[in-house]
Symmetry: C2
Subunit: 325 residues, 2 copies
């Protein structure tokens, strides 16, 4: 069985935690233990977020702090280098010498994606209103209110194609555990010359994980974060975890920004497109979440289920069949 | 033919140039064009330095500038993410869709390596004597004089084994151009528990390139930098480029620190160990350097040449033969 595992940025750095290397290493070790439990039984591809990390690097690289002018695709690449290294090391140690590879992954987005006109993804620290106004003026940033402060927001376009898909397929074929599309992948557009060019954006990592799972014909997509399950009646006395649900059941729910919304949307998309299950749950419960003993399982049930072998979209790259697939 | 190409950190950022993203992209594009010329004819593995880049990231991440405590292995990983991304993008564009992969690469060093007791590799900016004294006191850094100032120096241990070798071999087998062991690879030691742990060091990238070329049974090792050739009688009226030489001819020459010494040592080691040629030259002349029409070619000549197929050292990982090898 092939499992695509998506780690939230907050699965690697707790909410409210200062960006700190020791904490980052500890969280990577916890994530690696959880992933290894699954990887001992199944083929595994690991993707991860980078929200807190890319925010910290963006602050460090500010010109006033000694950095040169930089851009989000490059900061993305730096954060992916760091997180990929820590995960590869911890996972390799857990898996006792099994090959683990961390790949820099480019992901194509559409220049005409409406997200570029409507930046919504918050990155970096909170600012006061005066700081926020100055940053809009000096840097041309988009800044949005959050809680009692303001934060930089950047476009979060949909991933369209994973540039490095064939590399991932080759390594999977040989039993390598691949860490890829970190931070949703480095956002690139196809230029008029047909070449790839980095753009200022942060791709939704959950959608990239879903796209990767679809492209690889994964048997399951497991999105891990720091909460136990998707909750019904969140914040109300009747609040309770949702254990199993059909994508249609989530359509009526409006998730708050920054909440489980993107995970639920990506999980529903994977379940709908492929007819295979997607799970959401806590990183500590990873193996139980995959088994359906913890977290939330989203799958097509009853009449809404597609035929067992839904038609696959046409692929532009030559396909390497997966040995266990 | 399989060619391992090593790019100097200064092939990616000119000496004296400020760390600047636009300059970095331009240099990556120039490097990509040079590498592509070789990659259209041969199988290619690309390694690169990161001296100027890791120095800049180290400055940015200083606690006083908003960074958390960090360590050289992690900064190495960040710089490798950035450089790997830029090279992968530019090289993919030059090679018109041929698969290019950028791998985070761990390289094992020996905890008992004498380099740990004698840090010699300069990184980061120049400091005044007062700044240098404060950094020694506050951070426990080693600082050495350079020109009219002082610079941080870190251990530069010998690379012993490339952790990700099998991954590189698999991708090579499938015709992927692999960018790996960036910055000499991320330095790790094998702990008492048998696991890998990052260490505070910067591995000599030229020696890592030579080790990689040996391990992959490469047909040639090409080390590219910003100078045309190794010079005889350097700085004297009789100064002239050395076109072809036997490793033995370099033994008598004492190279100044920070000069061509490490490149020459790595090239000689490769030529001696394998009986195959190593070249040193300017990045702009890459294809001509490989042909022997520019730069310096170091190869075993006459009596000193080993048998055409020297015995290979035993390998701990299963060997994937190279298609064209």
């Amino acid at each position: 069985m092939l499992v695509v595992i998506g780690l939230g940025g907050h699965a690697l750095l707790s909410r409210g935690e200062e960006f700190d290397l020791a904490a980052q290493r500890d969280r990577a070790a916890i994530a690696a233990r959880a992933i290894a439990e699954i990887a001992r039984e199944h083929d595994v591809i690991v993707t991860h977020g980078n929200g807190p990390q890319v925010g910290a690097l963006a602050v460090q690289s500010e010109p006033a702090r000694g950095g040169g002018a930089t851009s989000l695709d490059v900061l993305d690449a730096e954060s992916v280098g760091m997180i990929g290294y820590l995960l590869e090391q911890e996972l390799g140690n857990e898996l006792d010498g099994r090959d683990v590879a961390a790949l820099i992954t480019q992901v194509v987005v559409d220049e005409a994606d409406p997200a570029f006109a409507d930046p919504t993804k918050p990155i970096g620290p909170k600012y006061t209103e005066d700081q926020a106004k100055a940053l809009v003026f000096e840097r041309g940033w988009s800044i949005a209110p959050e809680g009692d402060g303001w934060r930089r927001v950047v476009p979060s376009p949909r991933p369209r194609a994973i540039v490095d898909l064939r590399t991932i397929e080759i390594l999977l074929e040989f039993g390598v555990v691949v860490i890829c599309t970190g931070g949703g992948g480095i956002p690139v557009c196809i230029g008029a010359d047909g070449g790839l060019h980095g753009v200022e954006a942060v791709i939704d990592k959950d959608r990239s994980a879903a796209l990767l799972a679809e492209d690889l014909s994964a048997d399951a997509l497991v999105l891990l974060t720091d909460v136990d399950a998707v909750m019904a009646d969140w914040g109300m006395p009747t609040e309770r975890p949702i254990r199993v649900a059909d994508p249609a059941e989530f359509e009526a729910i409006a998730f708050a920004p920054g909440s489980m919304g993107p995970k639920v949307a990506a999980a529903c998309e994977f379940a709908r497109t492929t007819g295979r299950p997607a799970m959401i749950g806590s990183i500590e419960d990873a193996a139980a979440v995959l088994r359906g003993d913890a977290g939330t399982t989203i799958c097509m049930t009853g009449e809404s289920a597609p035929s067992p072998d839904p038609p696959q979209p046409p692929r532009s790259t030559p396909r390497i069949m997966h040995l266990s697939g």
